[in-house]
């Protein structure tokens, strides 16, 4: 049966905003419950009434006629005629009737209401839920004793009375206001009264309290999958666990079914999710796609729990059918960017002194094809114990220890660095003693640490390897050990004065700092490399004895670092407005320990002298940094790495950002970095050219209903745009539309060359029916990662 026509707005307690409309208000008005016509009787069981005439007749029937008003507690009925039965527990109503409960209005032709329970039925009804800004019509509205409303042949929408933009029309809709959601069977979604979608069964929230209900359908068009429609349906199973089922149709891939199950018990919470696509149709490449006609799937389990305040544990297990899964099926830009699936079992005890951890950890790298040296080692397991004792005199002792078994099964024959061809166990003990005092005028910290490391290895035989001389590792020790001391002295003074500048009073500090570090040379060229990487130069590294992170390489160094920084602190609040620092290291000896990567150090005098130069230069780059909070909206940051020996800039970056209270923001960025500045990563991970990038990103909240987000990243060296990102969010009273467009360069994991780069495009469209979709859908956090400071508006 076609839905009943809706009532005019003035009969739905509707009040249009005048000029008193709040600035961020999207709807054209609001529903307001008028006052009650009658006072409720003091005795809650009694019914107070008013009418033109009343009669108490035969058989105890009480009949009221002439615009009758009845009031019982917070329930009010108005009708042309009302008849109460003898037991006074039921009243039948005739003529245009109005039924009111707090935040509920139902107008109808006729109906009956029970007076000793909350049950009521009204025929030919039109209803309004004021607090949910929801309304609709129904051939019959029943209020059940437990407070739910069951409606036959009903409609539901959150649009303003005069707008018929969307409405749900179902054979039966049940609204549970207490739990905050509704369910509907045989439901059609009507846009401007045109049926657009059909659900046999549907659950939707009627307030934003619960993450439940129909989630926003996501429509996408991209070069790989063609037309891409995902319709998540949320199952609110219990207060502490719920699930989402996501059927997804892709024109060039087929139908994929996804699911997510979340649970929360006490301090433990977790989530299981998975997607499955039987026999992939190959996407845009069709038959010659790498995974044509294969099943594509993805599975991920996460659990975090707490045995006690100090003892926590977490479990992760992620796996996917292949490395290209996220590139092809990432539901949003964030997922497309995902480069690994973690596998972890971790038990962590955090005492006041001791920090104990036992874990097993590994990753599936989401690349295809995965080059062997990109495959990380599994830690099966890794036990670590760290402690720190401090005495009031300032002396402190540290105990750092870890025992780990590293394993990976790869085709060693394709590795180019022999030190990465071992598996085995490593025990590392690194006690340290030191002294630190922080009087207000400075600090002084001498420190000594001893690294005792013992390996138990098995080197792979490299017979089939054509990169490395055959048998290179045959005579390498299977259980090498290494002992290296690390000495450092850190010291600084803090001078201070009061000045007044730009019309306000500041405390300015001048903080000279002097640091010395000495690590003797130990030959580590035949030690494995499990979790070690050479660090890029940085301001923090000036004041640190380590050139590598990880344990397998403790770089030899004999350097003194000197620097000075100055801070302007607001005199009253101590708020840091401006800080600038300059620093440099002077190396007294060449450095000899490297990560033995042949693509960097092969007889470093002639090949790739860039990395060789880093080992022999007498001065580190002079590093200058500046951060200035100009006012509460504008701020700027600047950093410069300058090679004083050759008089060349190695890296500089400038950022200017503007933050407006409304949420609008602008970020301007420029980055220049010499090729080879960052030595970490394998050959194809290191940039093959100078990085020279302009990075502009903005978010503009034009008004309550419209906001734009954008980013443009331009690679000046190769004069091409690396990424263009645009998002429009249109937000109206009862619906929202989100369009996200991204065009980016996929470098296929080979940063050292741009020949194999290809540009990819993707468009996402999302419809949000306000009041229907919970916030449960994982919002696309990519915008928030790509545009610093941007907070996605909550619908």
């Amino acid at each position: 049966a076609p839905p009943l026509p809706s009532l005019p707005a003035d009969q739905l307690d509707w009040h249009a905003w005048g000029d008193d409309r709040p600035s961020n208000e999207l709807c054209s008005g609001y529903y307001l419950m008028p006052d009650y016509e009658l006072e409720a009787a003091s005795d809650p069981a009694q019914v107070r009434g008013q009418s033109d005439d009343a009669g108490y007749g035969q058989g105890g029937i009480t009949t009221l006629t002439g615009n009758v008003v009845l009031r019982q507690q917070d329930q009010q009925l108005q009708a042309r005629q009302a008849t109460l039965n003898e037991a006074r527990d039921r009243v039948a109503l005739e003529g245009p009737i109005t039924y009111r409960q707090p935040n509920v209005l139902v107008r109808g032709e006729q109906g009956s209401v029970s007076l000793n329970s909350d049950a009521a039925e009204i025929e030919g009804a039109h209803y309004v839920f004021h607090s949910s800004h929801a309304r609709g019509d129904a051939s019959r509205v029943e209020r059940l004793a437990d407070g739910r409303y069951r409606m036959r042949n009903a409609t539901f929408t959150t649009c303003d009375p005069q707008s018929s933009l969307w409405k749900l029309q179902g054979n039966e809709i049940v609204i549970n206001r207490e739990e905050g959601y509704g369910t509907a069977s045989g439901t059609r979604l009507r846009l401007y009264d045109v049926p657009v979608f059909y659900w046999p069964w549907l659950r939707f929230p009627i307030d934003d309290r619960r993450l439940s209900g129909l989630l926003y359908p996501t429509v996408g068009f991209n070069s790989d999958n063609g037309f891409d429609y995902a319709q998540p349906i949320y199952l609110n199973l219990a207060p502490n666990y719920d699930a989402t089922i996501v059927p997804r149709y892709m024109s060039d891939r087929g139908v994929m079914l996804g699911g997510q199950f979340r649970y929360l018990f006490g301090t433990d919470r977790g989530q299981v999710e998975g997607n499955y696509l039987p026999s992939d149709e190959g996407g845009s490449d069709g038959r010659n796609d790498d995974f044509y006609d294969e099943d594509r799937w993805f599975f991920n389990y996460m659990h975090d729990g707490r045995f006690s305040d100090r003892l926590t544990y977490s479990l992760r297990y992620g796996a996917a059918s292949d490395g290209d899964y996220f590139d092809d099926f990432g539901a949003n830009f964030d997922e497309q960017n995902r480069d690994n699936l973690e596998r972890l079992a971790n038990l962590d005890y955090r005492g006041d002194v001791w920090h104990l951890q036992a874990r097993a950890r590994g990753y599936q790298v989401m690349d295809y094809p995965v080059s062997p040296n990109d495959k990380p080692f599994y830690e099966l397991p890794s036990l670590s114990a760290d402690a720190r004792w401090t005495q009031s005199s300032g002396t402190y002792q540290e105990w750092n220890s870890s025992a780990t078994y590293f394993y990976r099964d790869i085709d060693e024959s394709r590795l180019n660095n022999p030190t990465e061809t071992a598996t085995g166990a490593r025990l590392n003990i690194a006690p340290a003693i030191g002294f630190r005092r922080d009087p207000s005028w400075g600090f002084f910290e001498p420190r000594a640490q001893l690294f005792l490391t013992q390996y138990d290895l098995s080197w792979a035989n490299l017979s089939g390897n054509d990169y490395v001389a055959p048998g290179a590792t045959d005579d390498w020790d299977e259980s090498p050990h290494r002992t290296i001391p690390v000495y450092s002295i850190d010291s600084g003074l803090i001078f201070e004065r009061r000045t007044s500048l730009f019309g306000s009073r500041w405390r300015q500090t001048l903080e000279p700092r002097l640091y010395y570090a000495y690590v003797p040379y130990r030959d580590q060229s035949q030690l494995p490399q499990f979790d070690t990487a050479l660090q890029a130069p940085s301001y923090a590294q000036l004041w640190s004895p380590f050139r590598f992170n990880g344990i397998d390489r403790i770089g030899d160094v004999n350097k003194i670092s000197y620097g000075v920084s100055s801070r302007f602190l607001d005199d009253a609040t101590g708020h840091q407005r401006f800080t600038a620092s300059v620093g440099q290291s002077r190396f007294f000896d060449d450095r000899r320990v490297t990560d033995d990567d042949p693509t960097k150090y092969d007889e470093y005098q002639n090949v790739n002298s860039r990395y060789g130069y880093d080992l022999v230069r007498d001065y580190s780059p002079a590093i200058g940094q500046l951060e200035w909070q100009i006012n509460d909206r504008w701020s700027t940051r600047y950093a410069l790495f300058y090679d004083t020996e050759n008089g060349a800039t190695e890296r500089n970056e400038t950022y200017v950002s503007y933050r407006h209270p409304s949420g609008s923001l602008l970020n301007l960025g420029y980055r220049w970095q010499r090729e080879g500045f960052d030595p970490s990563g394998d050959e194809e991970d290191r940039l093959g050219y100078n990085r020279n990038e302009y990075d502009v990103s903005f978010a503009w909240r034009m008004n309550a209903s419209m906001s734009l987000v954008g980013r443009y990243l331009y690679d000046q060296t190769n004069s091409r745009s690396l990424e263009t990102l645009a998002g429009v969010q249109f937000n109206d009273c009862c619906y929202g539309i989100e369009i996200a467009w991204r065009e980016y360069v996929d470098d296929d994991d080979t940063l050292n060359t741009i020949r194999d780069d290809e540009t990819k495009r993707g468009l996402f469209l999302r419809f949000i029916f306000k009041g229907l979709g919970g916030v449960g859908q994982n919002p696309d956090t990519y915008f928030e990662q790509a545009v610093p400071g941007y907070q996605r508006a909550r619908f």
């Binding site: 009694q46 033109d52 009343a54 009669g55 002439g66």
Partner: protein, 154 residues
């Protein structure tokens, strides 16, 4: 009670004037009438004798400050029925009481107020009207009531 009609009528008042031709007796001052469980208090009560010499109607009026009051025990188990009005007319034959002007009736757990309330003593039927159609009173007046469910106070 059902037996009220057969009970003798006792009336006490300050003054009494009798008009034999018209068959009426008018009591004024603080008038108190009792007939079995039926009691009536008013400022002025006019008794009308029927053709058979028995009481036909009793018309009681109060003053502006003090409405006329009538009460009756419908049956031993039921609680007292009490009524007020600027003017009360008791029709003995029909055992019907009309309350006109600021009429109010308390019957069991229910109360009725309005311009005009009519109560049948035996059938316990009540009719209340906002406007006093019988005397052409101002229309549009409203009847107010408080109804108590069966399990209520009576």
């Amino acid at each position: 009670l059902e037996s009220d009609a057969q009970q003798p009528i006792h009336i006490s008042a300050d003054q009494l004037t009798i008009d034999d031709q018209a068959g009426t007796a008018v009591y004024t001052g603080t008038v108190h009438v009792e007939q079995g469980s039926l009691k009536l208090d008013a400022q002025r009560v006019e008794l009308q004798r029927g053709a058979s010499g028995g009481l036909s109607t009793m018309r009681a009026t109060g003053t502006s400050g003090q409405r006329a009051y009538i009460e009756q025990q419908p049956s031993p188990q039921e609680s007292l029925v009490r009524g007020w009005g600027d003017t009360l007319i008791y029709h003995a034959g029909e055992r019907r009481v009309e309350m006109l002007g600021n009429a109010e009736l308390h019957r069991g757990g229910d109360t009725f107020t309005g311009a005009y309330v009519e109560y049948f003593l035996d059938s316990r039927q009540v009719n209340a009207r906002g406007g006093q159609q019988s005397q052409g009173g101002e229309a549009g007046g409203r009847v107010n009531m408080t109804l108590t469910p069966e399990g209520g106070s009576n």
